[in-house]
């Protein structure tokens, strides 16, 4: 491209925590300053994109409020009074403090609280490497909103994410669906943002679009049908859809038989799958089906078996039903009218959507975290997955395409193979570890790329109990965020234009986030900061290669997906991960569930009464028939003006979206004498949050929405997460780790007189 000769063009990546998007960025550099960013080219022009936040990159890098040098706290925690110190003093202090705390309480009492690294890898990896070397605690941040979906996905699909199975082909540009159902996600404005283009492409080619959301989002505005479901009732909707599908015989029997546990027999007495050992067979752990051909039980993989999909059978005196039969019986109770009464979606719409999903060739379900941030959000995800499974819309068969990018993480994180690694705590479990020392005490925390106080549940508890019980807090930040005010040592980090990283996104591409300018002021990259501390803890040899050394380590092609991809080549642009050739015959994707199949029935959750995707009441959100102390369900949408709490302090964006507002339906506003633009207080037992009301039909009656990510100091009083709770769902602990249920909160709203 043509530019003035004194301007250098550097291809880099915006790794903001849109995660799977990672727009390629062409940085225009003049005299060491980045003067402009634009969307970089991609091998496929469909991937060339940027957003209003990415376009505001320089407002972050050159923001007048950037932290400029290391500081130590001089006032009370939270006051924001700090004194400039040198990097040496900062790192020496941290090393000494960590050693002293570890000597008294053990290294696991040091917790690395690493939030959303976005699409970045080495900054995250550098700290984990240090956590591993010191055998301290990695505090997993999945639980701050993102653990509900993996909990559900692990149970039904045996994978952390359901994305590849539900919409992998859409991401890879290989799908031509008849129908797209966006459920609990708003790709027009938030993750998975990079799906909005393929969704609209599919729609242009004739696909119908249905959107399921308590808010009428941008994505919903593009829909052929909008289902305004009440928060926390998604499972009821799924059961209602399946009721219709089963009643009309629209389910995909061959798919259910081949890919799911539907035909497997389940014992009536224990609720467990019937196994070979129950029949005295040598294949003791093997699953058993009812063979319609032989009219008797058979191991699932036995030759010539024709498994029965439904029915009740008695085998060796043990009464059983197929898993599908159990699902069908559950769904039989969820007539469209009953589902409508729970969800708020009309019975007619439920029937029509079910019939269309059942009748068309291919429906793609696009989903994300929104509806899984409810107390039983993991079950909601399973319910969605079950609808996709019984209609044959899980991409459980591989027909050629791309391998997933497989980075060489293991040696990177676990630098010394034989040594034990870090301990792991979920972020919601961290509260208790700090407050009451359970399951073990955490005395010091290191925050990086996380605005913990602002973004985690129950901010008041964090202020009063979590922070108050910590001996030492380190934060690496760009700005004086609400969290940074509580740090004992505050370290200035680089913006993305000032350091290098590897970004294995967007699928199916890998990109190099190339440093475009020298770090401003005394800021350092997180990888450099980790290296500085490692040196003081005696681990400098593991950080000798710097950021690029880490990038090379990750790119080391032990896996065929990374073959031929090098840092040097990535300087020029994004590279496609290796495609595998088209298969002549389709083969089943091996799933990591206990059965290796899609588990529409989970025997591991029998004791918890959650073996099937039941509709269970939300924790706080009001649903019909349940008495709650506060009448309105409070949810937190994700705004295009921020990525979580990033960009909340950018003037360009504040001009367009100046302050937090609570959206309330005219019906609820009328009952409370609230007019558009009034100041109101949103409150519950935990907090009062004062802000402006926007009266909008865009939220369901009975629901109020505040876009998450505003900083606490941008509210007159309270904040979004002062209203949320930190209640742990023990079933999620058992499955994986507990989630914060930001969309399962009840409030009342009152006008400020």
């Amino acid at each position: 491209m043509t530019t003035k000769s004194d301007t250098k063009l550097i291809r880099t990546v915006c790794p903001a925590h849109c995660g799977i998007d990672a727009c390629g960025i062409l940085a225009h550099v003049k005299d060491g300053r980045v003067v402009k960013v634009e969307p970089a080219e991609f091998p496929d022009p469909k991937y060339r994109r940027i957003c209003l936040r990415g376009l505001s990159s320089l407002d972050i890098t050159y923001h007048k409020d950037r932290l400029k040098y290391p500081m130590k706290r001089v006032g009370e925690r939270g006051e924001g009074n700090f004194k400039r110190i040198s990097w040496d003093e900062a790192l020496d202090t941290i090393a000494e403090k960590f050693k002293a705390i570890a000597a008294e309480h053990g290294w696991p009492s040091i917790g690395w609280v690493l939030g959303g690294p976005g699409a970045g890898t080495t900054k995250f990896g550098a700290y984990l490497r240090l956590a591993s070397l010191t055998q301290s605690t990695r505090v997993s941040a999945w639980g701050y909103g993102d653990a509900g979906l993996p909990c559900g996905s692990r149970v039904i699909f045996g994978s952390q994410f359901p994305y590849a199975l539900l919409f992998g082909n859409l991401l890879a540009g290989k799908a031509e669906p008849d129908m797209v159902v966006v459920w609990g996600a708003n790709p027009g404005e938030s993750q998975p943002l990079n799906l909005m283009r393929p969704i609209m492409d599919a729609k242009a080619k004739g696909a119908r679009l249905a959107v399921i959301d308590p808010r009428f989002t941008v994505t919903a505005s593009k829909a052929d049908a909008y289902l305004g479901v009440k928060p926390g009732t998604d499972s009821a909707l799924a059961l209602g859809l399946m009721h219709v599908i089963f009643k009309k015989g629209l389910h995909d029997v061959p798919f259910i038989l081949r890919h799911s546990t539907g035909p497997y027999l389940v014992r009536n007495d224990t609720g467990k799958y019937l196994r070979g050992q129950d029949l005295g067979l040598e294949a003791a752990q093997e699953y058993v089906v009812w063979d319609s051909a032989g009219n008797g039980p058979a191991l699932r993989q036995a030759e010539g078996v024709v498994p029965a999909i439904e029915g009740a059978y008695t085998v060796s005196g043990i009464a059983c039903k197929t898993a599908f039969q159990l699902l069908k019986e559950l769904c039989a109770r969820y007539t469209p009218e009953k589902a409508a009464a729970t969800t708020g979606v009309s019975a007619d719409l439920i029937i029509r959507l079910a019939e269309r999903i059942g009748r068309v060739e291919e429906t793609i379900f696009v989903t994300h975290m929104g509806f899984t941030r409810t107390y039983h959000g993991d079950i909601s995800l399973r319910a969605l997955g079950t609808v996709a499974t019984v209609t044959g819309n899980v991409m459980a068969t591989f027909k050629g395409g791309h391998l997933p990018a497989v980075l060489n993480w293991k040696p990177f994180l676990k630098a010394v193979p034989d040594k034990p690694s870090y301990s792991r705590l979920g972020i919601l479990q961290l509260y208790d570890a700090i407050i009451s020392g359970k399951p073990y005490p955490v005395k010091a925390v290191w925050f990086s790329f996380i605005n913990f106080l602002n973004q985690c549940a129950n901010s008041g508890k964090i202020e009063k109990e979590v922070f108050a019980n910590l001996d030492f807090i380190v934060d690496t930040e760009l700005f004086m965020t609400p969290t940074a005010r509580y740090a004992d040592i505050l370290l200035p980090v680089c913006s993305y234009l000032e350091f290098s990283d590897l970004v294995p996104h967007p699928y199916p591409f890998v990109q190099y986030q190339q440093k475009a300018m020298e770090p401003l002021y005394e800021s350092r990259s997180d990888a450099d900061i980790a290296a500085g501390l490692a040196e003081r803890l005696g681990f400098s040899e593991y950080f000798a290669g710097g950021e690029d050394g880490f990038v090379d380590l990750l790119l080391d092609s032990r896996d065929p997906s990374m073959e031929g991809i090098t840092r040097e080549k990535l300087r020029e642009g994004a590279m496609s991960i290796n495609a595998i050739p088209e298969m002549e015959e389709a083969f089943d994707i091996p799933l990591s569930t206990p059965s290796g199949k899609i588990e529409i029935y989970s025997e591991g959750l029998v004791e918890d009464d959650q073996a099937l995707p039941f509709q269970l009441d939300p924790l706080e959100s009001p649903v019909p028939g349940k008495k709650t102390k506060y009448p309105l369900a409070f949810i937190q949408g994700h705004s295009r003006f921020r990525t979580h709490s990033m960009f909340a302090n950018v003037d360009t964006l504040l001009e367009m979206n100046p302050e937090p507002v609570v959206e309330i339906n005219p019906r609820d506003a009328g009952e409370r004498d609230i007019l558009d633009g009034d100041r109101v207080v949103v409150y519950n037992d935990r907090a009062r949050t004062k802000l402006k009301a926007v009266v909008s039909e865009g939220v369901s009656p009975g629901v109020v929405n505040i876009m998450q990510g505003w900083w606490i100091d941008q509210f007159e009083e309270g904040s979004v997460n002062h209203l949320t709770h930190d209640v742990i769902n023990p079933v999620q602990v058992k499955i994986y780790e507990p989630n914060m249920h930001m969309n399962d909160v009840a409030v009342e709203v009152v006008k400020v007189k």
Binding site: M1, T2, K36, E38, P39, R48, R49, I50, C51, L52, L55, S56, L58, M179, G188, E189, L193, M196, R197, M200, K203, A204, R208, A210, F216, V218, A220, S221, K222, A223, D224, A225, Y226, L227, G228, V345, L349, R352, L353, R356, R640, T652, L653, M656, N665, D676, V694, S696, E697, G698, V699, S700, P701
Partner: protein, 192 residues
């Protein structure tokens, strides 16, 4: 074929994100982005029309229409606004004295006086870019891929095809301005 450079904005693809506004502001350093997104049929941005759950929300990006007969140019006492051969209506800020006649003359509210109050500003269709063979900056930054740029006279080009489609429309055609910006309306919901 006569060159008639213009835009086609596809409301079906516009997701109202305002990346175009930010892109314009960054590229052209105007006091406001020269392309601004309205939410149709309501006063407030991002609020749907209708009653829950029967709702509609349509976004309308508004920009200089690069008119065939630009009323702004006609009233400019300084001759600072010119319709170029290729169709672009250029406001030359060097020649402008900030009198504001163009602001009043434009039926599209596409011209404004800058923050300092001394000069008019509007979209020049990124003439500094298109003269180098590049697309306007809002076009390459549009998240929805809703803004198309090119020769409206070329039936082979995407803009020509879209502008010639049955449903394409111009804003205020009755004013006789002859806009070089066309819109494609959103598809009506088809239900399921």
């Amino acid at each position: 074929m006569e060159l008639r450079l213009g835009l086609v904005i596809d409301q079906e693809r516009c997701i109202g994100c305002e990346a175009c506004t930010v892109a314009c502001k960054k590229e052209n350093h105007g006091s406001a982005g020269f392309i601004r997104v309205r939410t149709q049929n309501v006063e407030q941005k991002d609020v749907p029309a209708g009653k829950f759950p029967e709702l509609r929300m349509t976004f309308m990006p508004l920009v200089c229409n690069h008119c065939e007969n630009p009323p702004c140019a006609a009233v400019c006492p300084m001759d600072a606004i010119e319709k170029r051969q290729d169709g672009v209506v250029i406001l030359d800020q060097e020649a402008c004295d900030g009198c504001g006649a163009c602001v009043d003359a434009c039926p599209y509210e596409a011209v404004s006086i800058n923050e300092e109050g001394d000069v008019a500003e509007k979209c020049n269709l990124c003439s500094h870019r298109i003269d180098q063979g590049l697309e306007p900056f809002c076009v390459i930054c549009c998240e929805g891929q809703a803004i198309h740029f090119g020769n409206l006279n070329d039936p082979e080009a995407e803009v020509g095809r879209l502008a010639g489609s049955e449903t394409a429309f111009q804003l205020l055609p009755e004013q006789g301005t002859g806009p070089f910006v066309f819109y494609c309306p959103p598809l009506a919901p088809r239900g399921v």
